[in-house]
């Protein structure tokens, strides 16, 4: 009987001591947490996509409270979340420009493959092969869907051998941008009306591009000439669009002889004034 009592007493006392120590420690070592941090965490999407540049949603919440991050960095939550966070922080919401991932490749190099690839169905693996993968164009989408696999929002899919972004679903979290071994996905400010995109990344010379791609940019500069706002420049044989200037007129897309400039995801019909036979590069449209 004594043993039983001793066991109960000793364990009881031990338990009580540990309990007291923990109770004391929780006060003594309490780390002050701003209640705003929890409030912000609660209104974030919780996808932990990392698009804001912080490790997960709670990391971003902590950064906002610490004043290190703006209230509108959550691309996934958009303006609604930015407004909520701003309210919690007591500042005015700054509208965040909606960004989208843009695949800078038309997939025109399909059919120009250097060799048949039967390995792991993964762009990163394929890109390590000699020649940087099977695609004929060294700037071309490999089409094995590494971007598709990393997308937490189901917004990017390989269609006909080339990755396509669903602008509605894309939250600009940058996962695909980082995952693409070809570095041909970039973030672009999205114009909800008449979004113009030059869908090529090739810095090769025009003649070389023609050999490996049906519609890659050859750097002809017709788009740059067509642009009334001077929003397009040709740099290293590649037309590049400045979205700050682009007004979405679509004149560049009309002129592009390679048909790689899209307006709202489509290549527009060329109007009667047919372009010259001269090679042309991608032509973006100017916008504001």
């Amino acid at each position: 009987m004594n043993t039983v009592i001793a066991a109960v007493v000793v364990l009881g006392v031990l338990g009580a001591i540990f309990g007291l120590i923990l109770a004391y420690a929780s006060k003594a070592f309490a780390v002050e947490k701003d209640p705003r941090e929890e409030a912000i965490s609660a209104c974030l999407p919780g996808a932990n996509c990392g698009g804001c540049g912080y490790p997960g949603c709670s990391g971003y919440a902590a950064a906002v409270v610490a004043g290190k991050a703006a209230t509108n960095c959550c691309a996934a939550g958009g303006d609604a979340v930015a407004a909520q966070i701003a309210e919690i922080m007591g500042v005015k919401a700054e509208a965040s420009a909606k960004m989208i991932a843009q695949v800078q490749c038309t997939g025109g190099c399909r059919g120009h493959e250097q060799y048949e690839y039967v390995g792991i169905h993964d762009c990163a693996a394929a890109a390590r092969l000699p020649g940087g993968g099977p695609a004929g164009c060294s700037f071309g989408c490999l089409g094995f869907g590494t971007c598709e696999a990393v997308c937490p929002f189901d917004a990017i899919h390989v269609v006909d051998g080339v990755a396509k972004v669903d602008e509605e679903k894309c939250k600009a979290c940058k996962k695909c941008v980082d995952a693409c071994p070809r570095h041909i996905i970039l973030l672009a400010p999205y114009k909800t009306k008449r979004h113009v995109a030059i869908t090529c990344s090739s810095k090769d010379k025009g003649a070389d591009v023609r050999k490996v791609c049906d519609n890659g940019c050859i750097g002809c500069g017709l788009c740059a000439k067509a642009c009334p706002k001077e929003a397009i420049t040709v740099d290293k044989n590649l037309a590049v669009i400045d979205y700050d200037k682009c007004v979405g007129c679509g004149l560049c897309a009309q002129k592009c002889p390679r048909k790689l400039i899209t307006v709202d995801g489509k290549v527009p019909e060329v109007k009667p004034a047919a372009p010259k036979a001269a090679p042309a590069a991608a032509k973006p449209e100017a916008a504001e």
């Binding site: 001793a6 031990l14 120590i21 420690a25």
Partner: protein, 196 residues
């Protein structure tokens, strides 16, 4: 008296011969759970080393000065669970305040270890082998090193396994279990290794 050879023997035994994972099959849950990436495996291993060392150091005096004195050695398991659980809690709070960088590095693995049976195993074996304080400490830390070795080896195999083609039925967890079994077989080769 303690000699260096003796301690070295304990360490070698804990790391290789009686490896907690591959020879004693303790702590399999975190071993399978956090071994998908080498980085996280390292974090978990480090946290286990830390907790095993501290638990050995704390449980020895409790056993020696309290349980043995009151003839309550049969209550060891219960007491150790109590001690380890509150210890990990305490250490977590302390680290968060005093060493935030270490706390961040150990991250979620620290609270996870509360329920790691390898930790309970190491303190129970300390008493079973009637180790002294220093020996307990060495056994605890090196037991953790053994865990780290096992989980990092396993994680590096698993990272490659991701790209291996295996029958549909074996994909994921099954093949990981098979791999763990093969690694355990390999560690069987260390049995019988002695220092003396």
């Amino acid at each position: 008296m303690l000699s260096f050879t003796e301690l070295f023997g304990i360490a070698l035994g804990a790391i290789l011969v009686n490896n907690f994972i591959f020879a004693q099959f303790l702590g399999i849950c975190p071993f399978m759970g956090v071994s998908k990436k080498i980085d996280t495996a390292m974090g978990m291993g480090m946290a286990v080393i830390f907790v095993m060392g501290v638990a050995s150091a704390v449980c020895w005096p409790i056993n020696h000065f309290i349980l043995e004195k009151f003839n309550l050695v049969f209550m060891q398991t219960v007491t150790y669970i109590l001690v380890i659980a509150s210890l990990v809690q305490f250490v977590e709070m302390f680290l968060q305040k005093a060493m935030p960088s270490l706390y961040e590095a150990l991250g979620v693995y620290l609270p996870l270890i509360t329920t790691n049976c390898a930790v309970l195993g190491v303190v129970l074996q300390n008493t079973q082998n009637s180790y002294g304080f220093i020996e307990s400490l060495v056994y605890g830390v090196t037991g953790g090193v053994g865990f780290l070795l096992a989980i990092v080896l396993f994680a590096s195999v698993r990272e490659r396994l991701e790209f291996a083609e295996c029958p549909k039925a074996f994909e994921g967890f099954p093949i990981a279990l098979v791999t763990a079994g093969l690694l355990a077989l390999a560690f069987l080769g260390f049995s019988g290794l002695k220092v003396f």
